[in-house]
């Protein structure tokens, strides 16, 4: 298949514009509600508790939580019985539709929240300075912490985006439940493995830590090698988390969109 048939930046531009136009009211109302809530907390905390780094606490909370919620609602139209057909039959490829969704929920949302939060902090500082003579400070987006939050957001967004494409309703809740379920399963597997590997040291449900137990944990490769494995595992996990997870889940999202049917 000719690639030009699947990827056109003009069509992506049109899709982006249409998405923004179609959702701007919800966006403005939500942003207003969040800013209002944050302003109340900001003013109240200045009035009562004095100076502390409000933005350091509330920027990541706002950024991550609202971002997850917004991302989880990305595919509402696609899953809807009445809107799904028009979304899926829009003359654009799955790849273009997927890129649009990813762009909006990563770059688009991040730019919007940083600018929005910066403006909010300015207004909040103005108000609290005027009334209480104290401020929490203005949000500085150019810090290492903010960059780190962006990274964490992009990784978690990819998982949430996939769950939004997978589950028809309450995707965020279902994702949290699924992750909890997975954690429980992993815990059970780990517990059973320990029980089987160290069966000698168990008496019923009781576990007896003896000297023999520590001897049984003999590292044939030596301590230095173990540290090496640990480091490799740590680096591998980091690479997996930062660089493999987002494209992997975005790819799964793309596949899910491709396989989506309207019943």
């Amino acid at each position: 298949m000719n690639e030009t048939k699947k990827l056109s930046f003009t069509r992506i531009g049109i899709l982006l514009r249409n998405e923004l136009w179609g959702n701007y009211k919800t966006l403005v109302i939500s942003a207003g509600a969040i800013a209002g809530l944050l302003l109340i907390i900001n003013v109240a905390s200045v009035a009562t508790a004095g100076r502390w780094n409000f933005n350091e606490v509330f920027f990541p909370i706002t950024y991550l939580i609202t971002g997850m919620i917004a991302t989880s609602m990305t595919f509402t139209a696609m899953h809807s019985k009445e809107k799904g057909y028009s979304y899926l039959l829009l003359p654009a490829s799955h790849l273009e539709k997927c890129i649009t969704k990813i762009f909006l929920t990563t770059v688009g949302y991040t730019v919007l929240i940083i600018i929005g939060y910066f403006l909010f902090s300015l207004v909040a500082a103005g108000i609290t300075g005027l009334f209480f003579g104290r401020i929490h400070g203005v949000f500085n987006p150019f810090t290492r912490e903010v960059l780190n939050y962006i990274g964490i957001y992009v990784v978690t967004q990819s998982v949430v985006l996939f769950s939004a494409s997978f589950f028809r309703k309450l995707s965020l809740l279902k994702l949290i439940l699924s992750l909890n379920g997975l954690a429980i399963v992993l815990a059970i597997v780990a517990a059973l493995s320990i029980r089987l590997m160290f069966w000698k040291f168990f008496g019923g449900f009781g576990f007896e830590v003896t000297e023999e137990f520590f001897h049984s944990l003999s590292f044939t490769s030596g301590y230095d090698n173990l540290v090496g494995y640990g480091k490799a595992l740590y680096t591998g996990s980091k690479i997996f988390f930062w660089y493999i997870m987002p494209p992997f889940f975005w790819f799964l999202t793309y596949l899910r969109m491709r396989e989506k049917e309207v019943m």
Partner: protein
Amino acid sequence: MIQIENCSFAYRKKNNLFSSLNLELEGGSIYGLLGKNGAGKTTLLKLIAGLLFPKEGNITVFGNESRLRLPDMLSEICFIPEEFNIPSVTTELYRALYAPLYPRFSEEDFTRYLKELELDPEENLSSMSYGQKKKFQIAFGLATNCSLFILDEPTNGLDIPSKSQFRKLLASTLTDDRLFLISTHQVRDMQNLIDPIVILDEGEVIFKQDAFQVARKLTVKIQDLEPDPAAVLYVEKVLGGYAAVQENTDGSEVQVDVELLFNAVINNRDKVQGIFTKEEVKK
């Protein structure tokens, strides 16, 4: 234009709605897709549009597999389902947002169709009635100049003048490279529009004939006395006697009422099929 080969589909694993369905539809016609409730008409429309995927077999539209939903194919399809949702924007804004995705969209045609269907271009779509929204979708769809129009119960919700406008518009916009596929129960609304007629029953296409062939092979006679049901294909009590659908043996060409034809095919499928295949066998 549309090719369905050995298509099977099931909503549930064990209950096949279609098993080995074959159908070929060509441009330049307004196909009427008829069938009883649950026969699979809407499902077939969705399969053609690529909204559902066949479990087995192939469905190609303009030579592309429909399930791939390629942009080139989608820009040539207008699908208007029975239940739909359109954004709360003015008709003008809707055009500005979505028309660029259709390379052959004609603003001139769009304005003309809106006028013909008596729609206000400044009106917000959310304030329109269901029928008006449907008319808007028809106007927009026609203005895209797409080649395949798939309409599910298009006259539902349309008032009497709108039904007539709709028929006129469809007839006037039919070209050799355009295909209208209309699924409907309101056969009287479509009586003079749909040709050929495709009847779907129990997951099979049991009838696919054009009006000319139907008029040549079948006839309807109004009789005072009830005919022997075994001697006719279908009989129904009507005002002034009995309408009997039977084989046309005297060569006169009488237009057969679509509802009577449908009932004849459903009730006497083998006999009707036999009449239509008779000549083909002779050839």
